[in-house]
Amino acid sequence: MKTLVIISHPTLDESSSQQFLVQSFPESENVTLHHLEKNYPDEEIDVQKEQALLKNHDRILFQFPFYWYSSPPLLKKWQDEVLEEHFAFGHRGNQLNGKAFGLILVIGVAEKEYQTGGLEGFSISELTKPYQAVARKTGMHYLKPLEIYQFPYMTEEEKMKLLISYQQWLTIDRPDSLKYREEWMIDQLETLDHTLLDSSESSFIIDKAIELLEDNRIELDELNMHIDHLHE
C-alpha cells in the first residue's frame, strides 16, 4: 500500500503540531509527504504532476489545520484544479476509483465542544461532509479521520502515543485493528536500531517482547475460535 500525505499549511515551520508530525513521519518508501505551500509558493499548481502523484498512490490523506471548519485556501484551490472532470469524475473520470481517502486534522478546540450542545455545536463528521462527498463522487473509500485536538496542551505521554498513531495511520491498512497493529509493532521491533538503546541486554529484551506479543496473539485467536464455536 502506498500512501500520499498532502499537507496544507501556510506557515508549516512555525507550527509545533505540524513540525511534530513531520518529524514523526515514518521512514518508508511507501509513504510520500507532499507539502503544497512549499511546492507551490506562487500557488501555480502543476495539475499533471499532482494527478500523476494521485495515480501512483493507493491511500490519499489530507493533513491540515482545521481553519473555520475547512482547510487552508491552497488545498481548496488544489481540489478545484486537480480533481477535474474526466480525471476524478464524469466520463472516463475514474482515476481515483477504489483508492482510500482520509483526513488528518489538527484542531485547536477541545474534542468535547464538537457535539450538539458543545461550543462548536456540530460533530467533526458533520463538519467534514464536503470531504466525504468528494470521496463518494470520486469512488474513494472514506477513512475514519485522525483528529488531533489541542496539541499544545498534550502531555509528553500523549504526544508519544500520537507519534505512534500517526505512523500507523500512514502505513497500516486498518489502524483500528489490534491484530494489524501487533503485526506493525513486531515489524518495528525487528528492525530496531540497538545502538541507540545503550544496553547490553536490549536484543534479549526485545526478542522477549516479540515472543510475548506473538504468544498473546495465539491465545487471543484461540479464545476467539472458542467463542465463535459457542455461537454456532
Binding site: L192, S202, A209
Partner: protein, 60 residues
Amino acid sequence: MDEQEWLVSKLKELIENSKDYKQKALLNAVIDMIKEQEKRKEQMQGQLDGTLWSPGNWNQ
C-alpha cells in the same frame, strides 16, 4: 514477579536509556499493547465463561 511484569520493567529501563524519542515512543507503545492484549484476553475469557454459564445453554 511474573514474566510480563519483568518484561515491562525491563522495557521501562530501555526507555530510560534510549537516546531516541521515536524509539522511546515505540517502546512505550509496546508496553501499552501488552496491556491491551491482556485486557482483551480477560474480556474474551469472561465472555467465554459467561456464555458457558448462561442458564439459556444449560439444557442444550
